[in-house]
Protein backbone atom coordinates (compact mmCIF):
# COMPACT_ATOMS: atom_id res chain seq x y z
CA UNK A 1 0.00 0.00 0.00
CA UNK A 2 1.34 3.36 -1.04
CA UNK A 3 0.36 5.24 2.12
CA UNK A 4 2.21 2.62 4.11
CA UNK A 5 5.32 3.04 1.95
CA UNK A 6 5.40 6.75 2.78
CA UNK A 7 4.81 6.04 6.49
CA UNK A 8 7.65 3.50 6.49
CA UNK A 9 9.93 6.00 4.81
CA UNK A 10 9.05 8.53 7.52
CA UNK A 11 9.94 6.06 10.27
CA UNK A 12 13.16 5.05 8.52
CA UNK A 13 14.04 8.72 8.20
CA UNK A 14 13.65 9.22 11.96
CA UNK A 15 15.83 6.19 12.63
CA UNK A 16 18.53 7.19 10.15
CA UNK A 17 18.70 10.73 11.44
CA UNK A 18 19.49 9.30 14.88
CA UNK A 19 16.29 10.81 16.20
CA UNK A 20 15.29 7.53 17.79
CA UNK A 21 18.71 7.00 19.36
CA UNK A 22 19.16 10.47 20.85
CA UNK A 23 15.50 10.75 21.77
CA UNK A 24 15.69 7.38 23.49
CA UNK A 25 18.81 8.29 25.48
CA UNK A 26 17.45 11.63 26.68
CA UNK A 27 14.16 10.00 27.63
CA UNK A 28 16.02 7.31 29.54
CA UNK A 29 17.73 10.06 31.56
CA UNK A 30 14.33 11.57 32.26
CA UNK A 31 12.78 8.34 33.46
CA UNK A 32 15.91 7.65 35.55
CA UNK A 33 15.60 11.02 37.28
CA UNK A 34 11.96 10.35 38.01
CA UNK A 35 12.77 6.93 39.48
CA UNK A 36 15.46 8.48 41.68
CA UNK A 37 12.98 11.02 43.01
CA UNK A 38 10.54 8.30 43.97
CA UNK A 39 13.34 6.27 45.48
CA UNK A 40 14.64 9.01 47.73
CA UNK A 41 11.28 10.39 48.87
CA UNK A 42 10.11 7.41 50.84
CA UNK A 43 6.47 8.19 50.40
CA UNK A 44 5.24 5.25 52.40
CA UNK A 45 7.11 6.05 55.64
CA UNK A 46 6.08 9.64 56.38
CA UNK A 47 2.36 9.48 56.15
CA UNK A 48 0.16 7.87 58.73
CA UNK A 49 -3.16 8.69 57.04
CA UNK A 50 -2.02 8.08 53.50
CA UNK A 51 -3.34 11.41 52.22
CA UNK A 52 0.03 13.13 52.48
CA UNK A 53 1.58 10.15 50.74
CA UNK A 54 -0.97 10.39 47.99
CA UNK A 55 -0.32 14.12 47.74
CA UNK A 56 3.43 13.66 47.34
CA UNK A 57 3.04 10.85 44.83
CA UNK A 58 0.42 12.76 42.93
CA UNK A 59 2.65 15.83 42.78
CA UNK A 60 5.54 13.78 41.48
CA UNK A 61 3.43 11.91 38.96
CA UNK A 62 1.58 14.98 37.69
CA UNK A 63 4.77 16.95 37.26
CA UNK A 64 6.44 14.00 35.61
CA UNK A 65 3.56 13.74 33.17
CA UNK A 66 3.59 17.49 32.73
CA UNK A 67 7.20 17.25 31.64
CA UNK A 68 6.25 14.48 29.19
CA UNK A 69 3.40 16.65 27.91
CA UNK A 70 5.85 19.46 27.26
CA UNK A 71 8.44 17.16 25.65
CA UNK A 72 5.93 15.42 23.37
CA UNK A 73 4.50 18.79 22.36
CA UNK A 74 7.93 20.07 21.34
CA UNK A 75 8.79 16.73 19.71
CA UNK A 76 5.60 16.80 17.63
CA UNK A 77 6.31 20.31 16.43
CA UNK A 78 9.93 19.50 15.59
CA UNK A 79 9.01 16.32 13.74
CA UNK A 80 6.21 17.78 11.67
CA UNK A 81 7.39 21.36 11.12
CA UNK A 82 9.42 20.43 8.05
CA UNK A 83 7.68 17.20 7.11
CA UNK A 84 6.28 18.64 3.87
CA UNK A 85 8.18 21.90 3.40
CA UNK A 86 11.49 20.10 3.79
CA UNK A 87 10.62 17.56 1.12
CA UNK A 88 9.49 20.34 -1.19
CA UNK A 89 12.61 22.45 -0.62
CA UNK A 90 15.13 19.71 -1.24
CA UNK A 91 13.31 18.47 -4.33
CA UNK A 92 12.67 14.98 -2.98
CA UNK A 93 8.95 15.30 -3.50
CA UNK A 94 8.96 15.75 -7.28
CA UNK A 95 9.85 12.17 -8.06
CA UNK A 96 7.53 10.82 -5.34
CA UNK A 97 4.44 12.78 -6.37
CA UNK A 98 5.03 11.96 -10.03
CA UNK A 99 3.97 8.45 -9.03
CA UNK A 100 0.31 7.44 -9.03
CA UNK A 101 0.04 8.75 -5.48
CA UNK A 102 -2.35 11.53 -4.55
CA UNK A 103 -1.22 14.37 -2.36
CA UNK A 104 -3.75 13.25 0.23
CA UNK A 105 -2.14 9.80 0.28
CA UNK A 106 1.29 11.33 0.67
CA UNK A 107 0.15 13.57 3.53
CA UNK A 108 -1.66 10.73 5.24
CA UNK A 109 1.42 8.51 4.98
CA UNK A 110 3.57 11.28 6.41
CA UNK A 111 1.07 11.83 9.22
CA UNK A 112 0.76 8.13 10.02
CA UNK A 113 4.53 7.68 10.31
CA UNK A 114 4.94 10.69 12.58
CA UNK A 115 1.86 9.76 14.62
CA UNK A 116 3.32 6.31 15.21
CA UNK A 117 6.54 7.90 16.50
CA UNK A 118 4.80 10.35 18.81
CA UNK A 119 2.32 7.80 20.13
CA UNK A 120 5.14 5.36 20.76
CA UNK A 121 7.04 8.06 22.62
CA UNK A 122 4.04 8.84 24.86
CA UNK A 123 3.46 5.15 25.49
CA UNK A 124 7.07 4.47 26.50
CA UNK A 125 7.57 7.62 28.57
CA UNK A 126 4.15 7.80 30.21
CA UNK A 127 4.10 4.04 30.69
CA UNK A 128 7.50 3.96 32.41
CA UNK A 129 6.49 6.82 34.66
CA UNK A 130 3.17 5.32 35.76
CA UNK A 131 4.69 1.88 36.25
CA UNK A 132 7.51 3.39 38.34
CA UNK A 133 5.02 5.29 40.50
CA UNK A 134 3.06 2.11 41.03
CA UNK A 135 6.12 -0.02 41.86
CA UNK A 136 7.83 2.45 44.18
CA UNK A 137 4.90 4.17 45.83
CA UNK A 138 1.87 1.98 45.19
CA UNK A 139 0.53 4.97 43.32
CA UNK A 140 -2.40 4.15 41.06
CA UNK A 141 -3.81 6.88 38.85
CA UNK A 142 -7.55 7.26 38.50
CA UNK A 143 -7.41 5.96 34.93
CA UNK A 144 -3.92 5.34 33.51
CA UNK A 145 -5.25 4.42 30.05
CA UNK A 146 -7.28 7.62 29.73
CA UNK A 147 -4.24 9.57 30.91
CA UNK A 148 -2.03 8.06 28.25
CA UNK A 149 -4.66 8.30 25.54
CA UNK A 150 -5.32 11.99 26.18
CA UNK A 151 -1.59 12.74 26.38
CA UNK A 152 -1.11 11.08 23.01
CA UNK A 153 -4.12 12.92 21.62
CA UNK A 154 -2.76 16.34 22.57
CA UNK A 155 0.49 15.44 20.81
CA UNK A 156 -1.40 14.30 17.71
CA UNK A 157 -3.31 17.59 17.66
CA UNK A 158 -0.07 19.58 17.68
CA UNK A 159 1.46 17.21 15.13
CA UNK A 160 -1.46 17.70 12.77
CA UNK A 161 -1.37 21.46 13.22
CA UNK A 162 2.36 21.49 12.45
CA UNK A 163 1.80 19.27 9.39
CA UNK A 164 -0.86 21.70 8.15
CA UNK A 165 1.57 24.57 8.73
CA UNK A 166 4.23 22.64 6.83
CA UNK A 167 2.09 22.71 3.68
CA UNK A 168 1.84 26.50 3.92
CA UNK A 169 5.01 27.87 5.52
CA UNK A 170 8.76 27.32 5.35
CA UNK A 171 10.08 24.93 8.00
CA UNK A 172 11.52 27.39 10.50
CA UNK A 173 8.63 29.86 10.28
CA UNK A 174 6.19 27.02 10.78
CA UNK A 175 8.12 25.61 13.73
CA UNK A 176 8.20 29.01 15.41
CA UNK A 177 4.50 29.60 14.72
CA UNK A 178 3.30 26.24 16.05
CA UNK A 179 5.55 26.42 19.13
CA UNK A 180 4.12 29.87 19.81
CA UNK A 181 0.60 28.46 19.48
CA UNK A 182 1.57 25.67 21.88
CA UNK A 183 2.61 28.40 24.33
CA UNK A 184 -0.56 30.34 23.63
CA UNK A 185 -2.67 27.31 24.47
CA UNK A 186 -0.75 26.97 27.73
CA UNK A 187 -1.42 30.64 28.54
CA UNK A 188 -5.06 30.15 27.57
CA UNK A 189 -5.29 27.36 30.12
CA UNK A 190 -3.91 29.61 32.85
CA UNK A 191 -6.28 32.43 31.92
CA UNK A 192 -9.15 29.96 32.08
CA UNK A 193 -8.02 28.76 35.52
CA UNK A 194 -7.82 32.32 36.82
CA UNK A 195 -11.19 33.11 35.23
CA UNK A 196 -12.87 30.17 36.93
CA UNK A 197 -11.33 30.90 40.33
CA UNK A 198 -12.52 34.54 40.32
CA UNK A 199 -15.75 33.76 38.49
CA UNK A 200 -14.93 35.88 35.43
CA UNK A 201 -16.96 34.67 32.45
CA UNK A 202 -15.00 36.65 29.85
CA UNK A 203 -11.70 35.08 30.83
CA UNK A 204 -13.27 31.63 30.70
CA UNK A 205 -14.62 32.37 27.21
CA UNK A 206 -11.21 33.53 25.99
CA UNK A 207 -9.72 30.30 27.31
CA UNK A 208 -12.35 28.24 25.50
CA UNK A 209 -11.68 29.99 22.20
CA UNK A 210 -7.94 29.42 22.55
CA UNK A 211 -8.64 25.80 23.50
CA UNK A 212 -10.67 25.25 20.34
CA UNK A 213 -7.95 26.75 18.15
CA UNK A 214 -5.16 24.75 19.83
CA UNK A 215 -6.53 22.07 22.17
CA UNK A 216 -3.16 20.88 23.54
CA UNK A 217 -3.55 22.47 26.99
CA UNK A 218 -7.21 21.49 27.35
CA UNK A 219 -6.29 17.89 26.54
CA UNK A 220 -3.38 17.97 28.95
CA UNK A 221 -5.75 19.13 31.71
CA UNK A 222 -8.10 16.31 30.77
CA UNK A 223 -5.20 13.85 30.98
CA UNK A 224 -4.07 15.31 34.31
CA UNK A 225 -7.47 14.67 35.88
CA UNK A 226 -7.22 10.96 35.13
CA UNK A 227 -3.62 10.85 36.36
CA UNK A 228 -4.42 11.92 39.90
CA UNK A 229 -4.93 9.71 42.88
CA UNK A 230 -8.59 8.93 43.57
CA UNK A 231 -7.77 9.62 47.24
CA UNK A 232 -6.78 13.17 46.47
CA UNK A 233 -9.74 13.80 44.20
CA UNK A 234 -12.12 12.63 46.94
CA UNK A 235 -10.47 14.95 49.45
CA UNK A 236 -11.79 17.91 47.48
CA UNK A 237 -10.69 20.61 49.94
CA UNK A 238 -7.02 20.08 49.13
CA UNK A 239 -5.94 22.83 46.75
CA UNK A 240 -5.51 21.56 43.20
CA UNK A 241 -2.13 21.30 41.58
CA UNK A 242 -1.34 24.23 39.32
CA UNK A 243 -1.68 23.37 35.60
CA UNK A 244 -3.71 20.29 36.47
CA UNK A 245 -7.43 19.77 36.66
CA UNK A 246 -9.45 18.33 39.52
CA UNK A 247 -12.64 18.14 37.50
CA UNK A 248 -13.33 15.57 34.80
CA UNK A 249 -13.05 16.85 31.20
CA UNK A 250 -16.21 17.68 29.31
CA UNK A 251 -17.25 15.43 26.46
CA UNK A 252 -16.80 18.41 24.12
CA UNK A 253 -13.08 18.69 24.92
CA UNK A 254 -12.46 15.01 24.23
CA UNK A 255 -14.61 14.97 21.09
CA UNK A 256 -12.90 18.04 19.68
CA UNK A 257 -9.53 16.51 20.56
CA UNK A 258 -10.45 13.46 18.49
CA UNK A 259 -11.80 15.52 15.59
CA UNK A 260 -9.02 18.12 15.54
CA UNK A 261 -6.32 15.99 13.84
CA UNK A 262 -8.79 15.01 11.11
CA UNK A 263 -9.85 18.63 10.56
CA UNK A 264 -6.23 19.82 10.44
CA UNK A 265 -5.32 17.00 8.06
CA UNK A 266 -8.31 17.90 5.88
CA UNK A 267 -7.14 21.51 5.61
CA UNK A 268 -3.62 20.28 4.92
CA UNK A 269 -4.89 18.19 1.99
CA UNK A 270 -6.84 21.18 0.64
CA UNK A 271 -3.89 23.54 0.94
CA UNK A 272 -1.31 21.12 -0.41
CA UNK A 273 -3.38 19.88 -3.33
CA UNK A 274 -3.56 23.39 -4.74
CA UNK A 275 0.09 24.08 -4.43
CA UNK A 276 2.45 24.18 -7.41
CA UNK A 277 5.65 22.29 -6.77
Amino acid sequence: MKVLAVARLTLAEAAKRRLLLTGGLVSLAFVGLFLAAFWFIDTRATTPEGVMSALASTFLTIFGLYTIYFLTGVLSVFLAAGAVSGDVDNGILHAILARPLSRAQYLFGRWAGLAALVTGYVAVMGGSLLVAAWLFADYVALDPWATMGLLALQALCLLSLALLGSTLLPTVANGVAVLALFGLAWLGGIIGGVGRSVGNETLATIATVVGVAVPSDALWRAASYFAQSPLLLVAGEIPGIPFASTVPPSAAVVTWGLAYPLVALGFAVLAFSRRDL
Partner: protein
Protein backbone atom coordinates in the same frame (compact mmCIF):
# COMPACT_ATOMS: atom_id res chain seq x y z
CA UNK B 1 -12.28 21.44 -16.11
CA UNK B 2 -15.66 19.88 -15.43
CA UNK B 3 -16.06 18.92 -19.07
CA UNK B 4 -12.85 16.98 -19.28
CA UNK B 5 -13.70 14.90 -16.23
CA UNK B 6 -16.46 13.15 -18.14
CA UNK B 7 -14.57 12.24 -21.27
CA UNK B 8 -13.43 8.61 -20.94
CA UNK B 9 -9.84 7.57 -21.51
CA UNK B 10 -9.73 5.93 -24.90
CA UNK B 11 -7.53 3.04 -25.96
CA UNK B 12 -6.05 4.80 -28.93
CA UNK B 13 -5.44 8.13 -27.18
CA UNK B 14 -2.02 9.66 -27.84
CA UNK B 15 0.64 9.37 -25.15
CA UNK B 16 0.51 13.10 -24.55
CA UNK B 17 -2.11 15.57 -25.74
CA UNK B 18 -1.82 19.19 -24.71
CA UNK B 19 -4.20 21.91 -25.88
CA UNK B 20 -4.07 25.63 -25.15
CA UNK B 21 -2.07 25.16 -22.00
CA UNK B 22 -1.41 28.33 -20.07
CA UNK B 23 0.44 28.78 -16.82
CA UNK B 24 0.64 32.08 -15.03
CA UNK B 25 2.72 32.42 -11.90
CA UNK B 26 2.33 35.51 -9.78
CA UNK B 27 4.31 37.81 -12.01
CA UNK B 28 5.36 35.77 -15.00
CA UNK B 29 3.59 33.77 -17.63
CA UNK B 30 5.54 30.55 -18.02
CA UNK B 31 3.32 29.04 -20.72
CA UNK B 32 1.25 31.11 -23.12
CA UNK B 33 -0.70 28.78 -25.31
CA UNK B 34 1.03 25.46 -25.54
CA UNK B 35 -0.42 22.78 -27.76
CA UNK B 36 1.26 19.58 -28.82
CA UNK B 37 0.62 15.90 -29.34
CA UNK B 38 3.05 13.05 -28.79
CA UNK B 39 2.11 9.76 -30.39
CA UNK B 40 2.64 6.41 -28.73
CA UNK B 41 6.10 5.01 -29.23
CA UNK B 42 7.62 8.30 -30.31
CA UNK B 43 10.84 9.72 -28.97
CA UNK B 44 9.88 13.35 -28.71
CA UNK B 45 12.35 16.17 -28.14
CA UNK B 46 11.06 19.23 -26.36
CA UNK B 47 13.58 21.94 -27.05
CA UNK B 48 13.96 25.45 -25.90
CA UNK B 49 16.30 27.90 -24.26
CA UNK B 50 16.47 28.05 -20.46
CA UNK B 51 13.31 29.61 -19.08
CA UNK B 52 11.23 28.76 -22.13
CA UNK B 53 8.70 26.82 -20.05
CA UNK B 54 9.94 23.27 -20.68
CA UNK B 55 10.06 22.23 -17.03
CA UNK B 56 6.75 23.94 -16.26
CA UNK B 57 5.10 21.99 -19.06
CA UNK B 58 6.55 18.74 -17.73
CA UNK B 59 5.38 19.52 -14.19
CA UNK B 60 1.86 20.13 -15.45
CA UNK B 61 1.94 16.79 -17.28
CA UNK B 62 2.86 15.11 -13.98
CA UNK B 63 0.28 16.94 -11.89
CA UNK B 64 3.02 18.72 -9.94
CA UNK B 65 1.81 22.13 -11.13
CA UNK B 66 -1.70 23.15 -12.03
CA UNK B 67 -2.48 24.78 -15.37
CA UNK B 68 -4.13 28.22 -15.36
CA UNK B 69 -6.03 27.30 -18.53
CA UNK B 70 -6.14 24.62 -21.18
CA UNK B 71 -5.99 20.89 -20.81
CA UNK B 72 -3.43 18.13 -20.82
CA UNK B 73 -3.93 14.40 -21.04
CA UNK B 74 -1.70 11.38 -20.76
CA UNK B 75 -2.99 8.26 -22.52
CA UNK B 76 -6.36 9.98 -22.53
CA UNK B 77 -6.46 10.62 -18.77
CA UNK B 78 -6.62 14.23 -17.57
CA UNK B 79 -3.33 14.95 -15.82
CA UNK B 80 -5.13 15.99 -12.65
CA UNK B 81 -6.08 12.35 -12.14
CA UNK B 82 -3.87 9.78 -10.49
CA UNK B 83 -4.58 7.38 -13.36
CA UNK B 84 -2.59 9.62 -15.70
CA UNK B 85 0.59 8.78 -13.76
CA UNK B 86 -0.07 5.04 -13.61
CA UNK B 87 2.35 4.13 -16.38
CA UNK B 88 4.70 7.07 -16.30
CA UNK B 89 8.35 7.23 -15.32
CA UNK B 90 9.90 10.61 -14.55
CA UNK B 91 13.44 11.81 -14.08
CA UNK B 92 13.45 15.33 -12.59
CA UNK B 93 16.03 17.83 -13.73
CA UNK B 94 17.85 17.80 -10.40
CA UNK B 95 17.25 14.33 -9.12
CA UNK B 96 17.73 14.26 -5.36
CA UNK B 97 16.77 11.89 -2.67
CA UNK B 98 17.32 10.99 0.98
CA UNK B 99 21.05 10.46 0.99
CA UNK B 100 20.87 7.84 3.75
CA UNK B 101 18.96 5.45 1.50
CA UNK B 102 20.81 2.85 -0.51
CA UNK B 103 20.24 2.77 -4.25
CA UNK B 104 18.25 -0.44 -3.89
CA UNK B 105 16.09 0.95 -1.09
CA UNK B 106 15.27 3.97 -3.24
CA UNK B 107 14.27 1.76 -6.16
CA UNK B 108 12.25 -0.41 -3.80
CA UNK B 109 10.34 2.61 -2.51
CA UNK B 110 9.60 3.80 -6.04
CA UNK B 111 8.62 0.28 -7.03
CA UNK B 112 6.08 0.25 -4.20
CA UNK B 113 4.77 3.67 -5.16
CA UNK B 114 4.47 2.49 -8.76
CA UNK B 115 2.36 -0.40 -7.51
CA UNK B 116 4.81 -3.29 -8.06
CA UNK B 117 4.46 -6.27 -5.75
CA UNK B 118 7.39 -7.79 -3.86
CA UNK B 119 8.26 -10.35 -6.58
CA UNK B 120 8.19 -7.75 -9.33
CA UNK B 121 10.41 -5.45 -7.29
CA UNK B 122 12.93 -8.22 -6.62
CA UNK B 123 13.15 -8.88 -10.34
CA UNK B 124 13.06 -5.29 -11.54
CA UNK B 125 15.59 -3.67 -9.22
CA UNK B 126 18.71 -5.53 -10.45
CA UNK B 127 17.45 -5.17 -14.03
CA UNK B 128 17.08 -1.43 -13.71
CA UNK B 129 20.48 -1.07 -12.04
CA UNK B 130 22.10 -3.04 -14.83
CA UNK B 131 20.35 -0.99 -17.46
CA UNK B 132 21.96 2.21 -16.22
CA UNK B 133 25.37 0.69 -15.50
CA UNK B 134 25.11 0.56 -11.71
CA UNK B 135 25.32 -3.20 -11.24
CA UNK B 136 26.91 -3.97 -7.89
CA UNK B 137 26.47 -0.44 -6.58
CA UNK B 138 22.88 -0.76 -5.40
CA UNK B 139 23.87 -1.60 -1.83
CA UNK B 140 25.71 1.70 -1.34
CA UNK B 141 24.17 4.75 0.22
CA UNK B 142 23.28 7.65 -2.06
CA UNK B 143 25.55 9.84 0.09
CA UNK B 144 28.54 8.16 -1.52
CA UNK B 145 27.25 8.43 -5.10
CA UNK B 146 28.86 10.83 -7.55
CA UNK B 147 26.69 13.28 -9.46
CA UNK B 148 26.72 11.02 -12.48
CA UNK B 149 25.82 7.93 -10.45
CA UNK B 150 22.93 9.80 -8.82
CA UNK B 151 21.64 10.75 -12.24
CA UNK B 152 21.96 7.16 -13.45
CA UNK B 153 20.06 5.98 -10.38
CA UNK B 154 17.42 8.60 -11.15
CA UNK B 155 17.09 7.10 -14.59
CA UNK B 156 16.75 3.60 -13.08
CA UNK B 157 14.07 5.04 -10.79
CA UNK B 158 12.18 6.35 -13.83
CA UNK B 159 12.30 2.92 -15.47
CA UNK B 160 11.45 0.80 -12.43
CA UNK B 161 7.70 0.50 -13.01
CA UNK B 162 8.00 -0.56 -16.67
CA UNK B 163 6.42 2.71 -17.80
CA UNK B 164 4.75 3.21 -21.17
CA UNK B 165 5.77 6.87 -21.11
CA UNK B 166 9.05 8.21 -19.78
CA UNK B 167 9.54 11.91 -19.13
CA UNK B 168 13.17 12.97 -18.91
CA UNK B 169 14.01 16.52 -17.85
CA UNK B 170 17.52 17.42 -19.03
CA UNK B 171 18.76 13.88 -18.35
CA UNK B 172 22.29 14.35 -19.63
CA UNK B 173 23.21 17.77 -18.26
CA UNK B 174 25.02 16.33 -15.21
CA UNK B 175 26.65 13.44 -17.05
CA UNK B 176 30.06 12.78 -18.51
CA UNK B 177 30.34 11.42 -22.07
CA UNK B 178 30.01 7.81 -20.85
CA UNK B 179 26.85 8.67 -18.97
CA UNK B 180 25.43 10.46 -21.99
CA UNK B 181 26.03 7.43 -24.09
CA UNK B 182 24.20 5.30 -21.50
CA UNK B 183 21.21 7.64 -21.61
CA UNK B 184 21.15 7.49 -25.41
CA UNK B 185 21.29 3.71 -25.33
CA UNK B 186 18.49 3.55 -22.79
CA UNK B 187 16.35 5.85 -24.92
CA UNK B 188 16.99 3.71 -27.99
CA UNK B 189 16.10 0.57 -26.03
CA UNK B 190 12.89 2.21 -24.90
CA UNK B 191 12.01 3.08 -28.48
CA UNK B 192 12.63 -0.51 -29.54
CA UNK B 193 10.22 -1.66 -26.85
CA UNK B 194 7.60 0.82 -28.02
CA UNK B 195 7.89 3.07 -24.97
CA UNK B 196 7.14 6.74 -25.56
CA UNK B 197 9.89 9.12 -24.47
CA UNK B 198 9.40 12.83 -23.85
CA UNK B 199 12.78 14.48 -23.59
CA UNK B 200 13.32 18.02 -22.33
CA UNK B 201 16.65 19.28 -23.44
CA UNK B 202 18.73 22.17 -24.58
CA UNK B 203 21.54 19.86 -25.64
CA UNK B 204 20.69 19.82 -29.31
CA UNK B 205 23.25 17.30 -30.47
CA UNK B 206 21.76 14.80 -28.02
CA UNK B 207 18.29 15.44 -29.33
CA UNK B 208 19.48 15.15 -32.91
CA UNK B 209 20.88 11.71 -32.15
CA UNK B 210 17.80 10.14 -30.56
CA UNK B 211 14.58 11.99 -31.35
CA UNK B 212 12.00 11.20 -34.02
CA UNK B 213 10.08 14.37 -33.63
CA UNK B 214 10.74 17.67 -31.92
CA UNK B 215 8.95 20.80 -30.81
CA UNK B 216 10.85 24.00 -30.28
CA UNK B 217 9.38 26.09 -27.50
CA UNK B 218 10.22 29.69 -26.80
CA UNK B 219 8.67 31.93 -24.18
CA UNK B 220 5.88 29.50 -23.48
CA UNK B 221 4.83 28.78 -27.05
CA UNK B 222 5.66 26.09 -29.56
CA UNK B 223 7.37 27.95 -32.40
CA UNK B 224 8.00 24.91 -34.57
CA UNK B 225 7.10 21.25 -34.37
CA UNK B 226 7.52 18.30 -36.66
CA UNK B 227 9.61 15.29 -37.57
CA UNK B 228 13.30 16.01 -37.06
CA UNK B 229 14.12 15.28 -40.72
CA UNK B 230 11.57 17.78 -41.97
CA UNK B 231 12.75 20.41 -39.59
CA UNK B 232 16.34 20.02 -40.75
CA UNK B 233 15.49 19.73 -44.45
CA UNK B 234 13.02 22.57 -44.32
CA UNK B 235 15.38 25.40 -45.20
CA UNK B 236 18.56 24.34 -46.96
CA UNK B 237 21.47 26.70 -47.45
CA UNK B 238 24.01 27.12 -50.19
CA UNK B 239 27.52 28.37 -49.45
CA UNK B 240 29.14 30.22 -52.36
CA UNK B 241 32.83 31.14 -52.52
CA UNK B 242 33.76 33.77 -55.14
CA UNK B 243 36.84 35.72 -56.26
CA UNK B 244 35.29 38.91 -54.86
CA UNK B 245 32.13 40.02 -53.12
CA UNK B 246 30.43 43.31 -53.93
CA UNK B 247 26.97 44.78 -53.82
CA UNK B 248 26.12 43.65 -57.32
CA UNK B 249 26.75 39.99 -56.57
CA UNK B 250 24.90 40.27 -53.26
CA UNK B 251 21.87 41.56 -55.11
CA UNK B 252 22.21 38.74 -57.57
CA UNK B 253 22.32 36.14 -54.78
CA UNK B 254 19.43 37.75 -52.94
CA UNK B 255 17.21 36.75 -55.87
CA UNK B 256 17.61 33.12 -54.77
CA UNK B 257 16.97 33.55 -51.08
CA UNK B 258 17.89 35.38 -47.93
CA UNK B 259 21.60 36.05 -47.45
CA UNK B 260 22.39 34.61 -44.01
CA UNK B 261 26.02 35.61 -43.72
CA UNK B 262 29.15 36.85 -45.43
CA UNK B 263 32.63 35.69 -44.41
CA UNK B 264 35.41 37.20 -46.55
CA UNK B 265 34.51 35.98 -50.05
CA UNK B 266 32.08 33.30 -48.90
CA UNK B 267 28.35 34.05 -48.84
CA UNK B 268 25.72 31.83 -47.24
CA UNK B 269 22.28 31.94 -48.79
CA UNK B 270 19.15 30.31 -47.41
CA UNK B 271 17.28 28.88 -50.39
CA UNK B 272 13.85 27.33 -50.78
CA UNK B 273 15.18 24.35 -52.65
CA UNK B 274 18.73 22.95 -52.75
CA UNK B 275 18.05 21.93 -56.38
CA UNK B 276 18.53 25.54 -57.44
CA UNK B 277 22.31 25.37 -56.94
CA UNK B 278 23.08 25.06 -60.71
CA UNK B 279 20.95 28.15 -61.40
CA UNK B 280 22.96 30.10 -58.83
CA UNK B 281 26.23 28.97 -60.43
CA UNK B 282 25.04 30.01 -63.86
CA UNK B 283 23.85 33.41 -62.69
CA UNK B 284 27.16 34.17 -60.95
CA UNK B 285 29.31 33.16 -63.87
CA UNK B 286 27.16 35.11 -66.32
CA UNK B 287 27.53 38.19 -64.11
CA UNK B 288 31.33 37.95 -64.60
CA UNK B 289 32.47 36.50 -61.26
CA UNK B 290 34.74 33.51 -60.82
CA UNK B 291 33.14 30.72 -58.80
CA UNK B 292 35.54 28.83 -56.47
CA UNK B 293 33.04 26.69 -54.62
CA UNK B 294 29.32 26.15 -54.31
CA UNK B 295 28.27 23.81 -51.50
CA UNK B 296 24.72 22.89 -50.45
CA UNK B 297 24.71 22.80 -46.64
CA UNK B 298 22.43 20.70 -44.49
CA UNK B 299 21.61 22.86 -41.52
CA UNK B 300 22.21 21.46 -38.08
CA UNK B 301 19.48 21.44 -35.48
CA UNK B 302 21.42 24.15 -33.73
CA UNK B 303 21.15 26.45 -36.75
CA UNK B 304 17.42 25.83 -36.98
CA UNK B 305 17.02 26.32 -33.24
CA UNK B 306 18.97 29.55 -33.11
CA UNK B 307 17.05 30.84 -36.09
CA UNK B 308 13.75 30.04 -34.42
CA UNK B 309 14.32 31.33 -30.92
CA UNK B 310 16.37 34.40 -31.74
CA UNK B 311 14.53 35.60 -34.81
CA UNK B 312 10.97 36.76 -34.88
CA UNK B 313 9.70 39.25 -32.38
CA UNK B 314 12.53 39.19 -29.85
Amino acid sequence: MAGMEQAPATEGAPAIAVAGLRKVYRRTTALHDLSLTVGRGEVFGFLGPNGAGKTTAMKILLGLAHPSAGEARIFGHPVQRRAARQEVGYLPEHFRFHDWLTGEALLDLHGRLAGLDADERRARIPEALERVGLTGRGGERLRGYSKGMTQRLGLAQALIGRPRLVLLDEPTSALDPGGRRTVREVIRDLRTQGTTVFLNSHLLSEVEMVCDRVAVVDRGRVVRAGPLDELLAGSPEVRVTLDRVDEAVMAELARFGQVDGVDATTVTVAVDDAGRAPDIAQAIVQAGYRLHALVPVRRSLEDVFVGLVQGGDR
